[in-house]
Symmetry: D2
């Protein structure tokens, strides 16, 4: 294990902090990346938990979560693209003789 | 390595073929499972390739693959459930003042 | 559209705010759920962007992101379970004659 | 609905069969694509069912399915890349002081 002037990862590069290199690996840089990634995964997991809770509340109040998800997906599409998509869907359905409800 | 009467995985159990046990592991059984799983993954990968090809052909013939996927998803839902979903979607959209095209 | 005492989703239930009901749907409750879900998705998307940035920085500093992901996955497993998993993996590999590096 | 000389999807293009066009859509071409895609999804679903069965048999014979999946994942990597990955993993683990079993 050597402690020398800055260097990161395998290739040399400038890195202000004093760097401990283990087998050529900039240990502090690697540790800090790993800890940042782990923190982000923790936050993401917490958000997924919150999402699950909100959907559970929706259900408990009698809402249909599938329809809520569908509505949220549609809200992400700009209205004009939604309109064009709906028309094309109706056209494709008619072309193959598929009976689609007016609004689904 | 011992070759003895049938035994499976770790726990003893009856297995017709002569079993070679390595560290208590029924080697033939393990190998056959692994090879079956690998074959199934190969077949699945081939199917995914075929799907990709078909969608590429759709595109090359001017079809909108997103709409095709949407139509296929709808065809999986039984017509009555589709109808109910469409009505509920319209109701939810109206409740929050979201303007949805008649059919999308 | 009727404005009446609290009711939620489809089924009646108590809900402090004055509720506007559209086709039996508690509009405010639905809107608030949808907005909360959309905010959580936004936050999640931001986190995924941050993760992508960190991995890009890892790469730019010469680290192998696949190995970082593998190390992070292993850090999630408690050391004893890791040890047992490693031994079983070695056993299964030996049983089918698969040559595995000592530590991978 | 018009029946005219070959045309595909929206844009004109050569297509041997007589084509029924609905709103400019080549109905037979669309139907045949959709049915091919649906068949491929059916086959894929059947394969996934087979995979599930094989893993259930593994379990019933005392094998650890997580370790089997890990071994199968490793078998997909060419031995030399596996070896290099293992060494780099050991190096990264040592750099951040993470104790990894010899073979996991």
């Amino acid at each position: 294990m050597t402690t020398d002037k800055p260097g990161a990862g395998h290739n040399s590069g400038d890195d202000e902090q004093q760097t401990t290199r283990i087998g050529g690996i900039a240990a502090e840089a690697l540790r800090s990346f790993i800890e940042r990634i782990e923190r982000l995964h923790e936050e993401k997991k917490a958000l997924e938990g919150d999402l699950k809770d909100v959907y559970a509340q929706c259900k408990s109040q009698g809402f249909d979560t599938k329809i809520i998800k569908r509505l949220i997906a549609l809200r992400r599409i700009d209205p004009q693209a939604r309109e064009e998509g709906a028309q094309l869907l109706a056209l494709y359905a008619a072309a193959i003789g598929e009976q689609l409800p007016l609004n689904l």
